[in-house]
Subunit: 106 residues, 2 copies
């Protein structure tokens, strides 16, 4: 793998890595229903607000979400709705695995 190829996959990996966390996935699915402010997400997640803020920063850094300030609040939203397709594929992997285990149990 040459340097250029490596750089290409590192860029891609950064984006996927930014989604590879349960809390961040949960946030993405919430944002798919519309923008939300940090405090609302914090309530839903049930973690420290600083933790949620950092999760959002991770996703913002790679361009998955964008933010908008309104007064003292910050609203986050998805920047690329296609992110949701990830979910469908992931579900399909889970289903395939489940089906296989069912078959083995017969």
């Amino acid at each position: 793998m040459d340097d250029k190829t490596r750089a290409k996959y590192e860029l891609r990996a950064r984006i996927i890595k930014a989604m590879a966390h349960p809390t961040r996935l949960f946030i993405v699915s919430q944002l798919s229903q519309g923008e939300k402010c940090v405090c609302e997400l914090t309530r839903m997640v049930g973690a420290d607000i600083s933790t949620v803020s950092k999760h959002l920063a991770v996703m913002k850094n790679v361009g998955i979400v964008q933010d908008r300030k309104e007064g003292s609040q910050v609203f986050y939203s998805l920047r690329c709705p296609c992110i949701l397709e990830f979910f469908e594929c992931v579900e399909s992997v889970l289903r395939t695995t489940a089906a296989e285990q069912l078959a083995l149990a017969e």
Copy 2:
């Protein structure tokens, strides 16, 4: 976030995490063109064979790839081709980011 919801997103995150690495993404893209044995992937990646083997094990554990033994070789292949849709979405995130930066540079 209740326990059930948390478990659901942890399961999803495990799958995405298994892809969140440059080398593993490279391997996935190679496998999208057909099954390959560990030694061939090792040559392409250019790392220690034990490293490549472990990367493959990570993806196999979550059901992204499957393996097939033939003599002393082990061939790996994608189990869910939809994985490739991840790439398209990731590219779209990258394009959006690039376009935005271009606009800012004007």
